[in-house]
Amino acid sequence: MGKTIRIDAKGVHYTPLNIMLREAVADGVKEIILDNVLGQRFIGNGLRGDDVSIKINGVAGGDLAMFMSGPEIIVNGNCDHAPGNTMDSGRIIIHGSAGDATAHSMRGGEVYVRDNIGYRGGIHMKEYQEKRPVLVVGGTARAFLGEYMAGGLLIVLGLNSLFPVNERGVGSGIHGGKIILRGDIDESKLGIGAKKEKLKVEDLEEIRPYIKKFSKYFGLNSEELLKSEFTKIIPASSRPFANKYCWE
C-alpha cells in the first residue's frame, strides 16, 4: 500500500493546491483526498503518474484534470466546465453533474459522469493511433453534443429521462469518432455532418467494457443496461464542410 494524504482545500488557490498535488505524487503518495474543494480550477492540471488516486470532496472548478496523464480522479460533487479538457490518459469519475464542454478536446483516457452534462459535451474530442478517449454520461446531454468531434467514443445513457439528448445540433460538424445514445433521437436534432445509424454487433461489443465500468462505479446492473436499444451517430463524411469556404 502506498501513502495516503488528506488536504483541506478550503480557501486554497489552485496554484498552491496543484503544487501540493505534484509534490505529493513526487513523494510517492498514491492516494490524495482533497476536502472542501469549492470552485478551484485546473485541479490535477498536467499531473502525471500511474496508480495515483485523487478524491475530490466538493464542487470542482473548470478544466479539472486538464492535460492530465495517468491518475484517477473521483469527484464527490458536481464539476464546472470542461472536466477532462485535453486529457491525455487516466480517468475521471464524477458522482454528480458536469458543466459545458465536458471532455473538451480530450485525447485519451476515460470520463464517467453519473448525472448530466452541459452544452457541447465532447466538443473536439480526438483520437490518434492507440489513443482513444471515452466519455460516458449516465443522465442527459444538452445541445451540440459531440460538436466538431474528430475521434473517440461518446456514450449517453439518458437514465431517468425520456431522451438522452433532446436539443439541437447533435454531432454538428462531426468528422470522426462515434456517439452512442441509449434510446433514440429525432433526425431534426442532428447537426450538419451527422448521420444516424442502427447499432451493429461490433458497436455493442465496443461499448460493453465501458458500460460495465460505469455500472460498477455507480452501482447499476450492466447486463440490464446492455439490453437497451441504442442509436449510433457517426460522421456523414470525413470533411463535412469541404464545400463551405465561408458561411453564405
Partner: protein, 350 residues
C-alpha cells in the same frame, strides 16, 4: 469572460452584501481587476419614494454645480451626500461617487403617461452626454449600484458593501475585452428600476443601439451591456411585455424551431420576431436583469456562456458558477443548468 451572480429573496427578507462579495471574489479568475460592481434592491428604505441618483464626479466643482443646477430645475433634491468610501490599497479613486435623493416635478412634463420616469431619463441622458466630468450610473427608487475599477473584494470594501441590505443583490466581475475598463463601464448597468449584469458580448450591438436610440435612449457607457438595460426598459416598462416575452424578443427561438411549434405558438413567436427584430441580441451572453418585482436570467440561444441556477427556500440564485452560489448557501434544494434562451424567473411573492 466575466463572472455574474444574483440572488433574490422572494419573501423580501433582507440580506447584507457580505455574502455576495465572497461569492464574486470566488470567481476572480473570470475578471481582470478592471471592473466590479454590485446592485442592491431595498437599499434606501428611508428615501424609497425618491429616485436615488448615483453620480461619478471627476471633481466636485464645475460638473457638480452643473448637475445640481439641472436637478433643481427639474425638481427637488431631498437629500444629497458623498457616497461613503474607504481607501483600498489596490483601488485608485478616479471619481468621487455622490448620491442624490430626488423627486422630479411632474408639472414640467405634460403629455406623457409616465412623467416621473421620463424626467429621470431626460436628466440621465443630459448629464451623461452634455456635462463633462459627471456620469449618472444609478437612478432607481430604493436601488443602489456601487461599482468601480478593481477586484470584486476591493470594490466591495471600498463601498463597505456589507453595510447595505436588500432583497435582491447582483454582482459582476468584469474582464473587459472590446473596450477598456473604466468606472462607468463596470456592471451592473442601471436605468430607473432596471439593472443588468452581463457576461459575454452583444455582437449585434450596432443594430440594437440604432434601434434603441430611435426611441430616445442615449448610449454613453462605451460598452454593449447598456443597450440591454435600455431594451429592458423599453420592452418591460414602456411596452409592458411580461418577462417571458421580453426574453423571447431578445433571444428568440430559431426559425426552424418556430416552424415546428403549434399554430398559436408559431404565430406568437413569428409576431415577436417581426415586431422586435431590432431588439434581437446575437453573440455569446449570460445576462441577469433585475427590477423591484424580481430577477430574470437567460443566455444566448446557443449557450455560449455559462449560467447555473439554484434554489434554497425562498431564495433563487443565478450565477456563472455553482461554487459561487455555494459560498452563499451550502444547502441548496435544487441546482440546475437552464436551457439556452430560456428565462429563469424569480419574482417576489405578493
Amino acid at each position: 469572460m466575466c463572472g455574474i451572480i444574483s440572488v433574490i429573496d422572494r419573501s423580501k427578507n433582507y440580506m447584507d452584501g457580505g455574502a455576495i462579495k465572497n461569492a464574486l471574489a470566488l470567481m476572480n479568475e473570470r475578471g481582470s481587476g478592471e471592473g466590479a460592481g454590485y446592485a442592491v434592491y431595498g437599499a434606501y428604505p428611508d428615501y424609497k419614494d425618491y429616485y436615488a441618483l448615483h453620480v461619478f464626479y471627476d471633481n466636485i466643482v464645475e460638473p457638480k454645480e452643473a448637475v445640481e443646477e439641472l436637478l433643481e430645475k427639474w425638481g427637488k433634491i431631498e437629500y444629497a451626500e458623498e457616497i461613503p468610501t474607504y481607501e483600498q490599497d489596490r483601488l485608485r479613486k478616479q471619481h468621487i461617487p455622490w448620491r442624490y435623493f430626488f423627486k422630479p416635478d411632474i408639472r414640467l412634463l405634460a403629455g406623457t403617461c409616465s412623467p416621473e420616469e421620463d424626467a429621470i431619463i431626460n436628466i440621465v441622458n443630459k448629464v451623461n452626454t452634455e456635462i463633462k466630468g459627471a456620469l449618472i450610473f444609478s437612478s432607481g427608487k430604493d436601488i443602489g449600484v456601487f461599482k468601480a475599477s478593481g477586484w470584486p473584494e476591493d470594490v466591495a470594501n471600498f463601498y463597505r458593501i456589507e453595510d447595505y441590505e436588500g432583497y435582491i443583490w447582483m454582482g459582476h466581475n468584469r474582464y473587459p475585452t472590446n473596450t477598456s475598463g473604466w468606472w462607468g463601464g463596470a456592471h451592473p448597468f442601471n436605468l430607473l428600476n432596471w439593472s443588468v449584469i452581463h457576461n459575454g458580448e452583444i455582437t449585434s450591438y450596432g443594430t440594437n443601439r440604432r434601434y434603441i436610440e430611435s426611441f430616445g435612449y442615449k448610449c454613453t457607457m462605451k460598452t454593449d451591456t447598456e443597450v440591454v438595460a435600455y431594451l429592458a426598459d423599453l420592452l418591460g416598462r414602456r411596452h409592458e411585455l411580461p418577462e417571458e416575452l421580453s426574453v423571447k424578443a431578445l433571444a428568440p427561438p430559431f426559425w426552424d424551431d418556430i416552424d415546428r411549434m403549434s399554430e398559436n405558438e408559431r404565430d406568437l413567436h413569428t409576431a415577436l420576431r417581426m415586431a422586435y427584430g431590432g431588439a434581437l441580441m446575437n453573440g455569446p451572453f449570460a445576462i441577469v436583469i433585475a427590477k423591484p418585482e424580481g430577477i430574470v436570467g437567460f443566455t444566448d440561444r446557443i449557450k455560449l456562456r455559462p449560467m447555473i441556477a439554484a434554489e434554497s427556500g425562498d431564495r433563487l440564485y443565478i450565477s456563472s458558477e455553482e461554487a459561487a452560489i455555494r459560498t452563499m448557501e451550502q444547502n441548496l434544494d435544487r441546482v440546475w443548468m437552464p436551457s439556452a434562451g430560456e428565462p429563469v424567473i424569480g419574482m417576489v411573492r405578493r
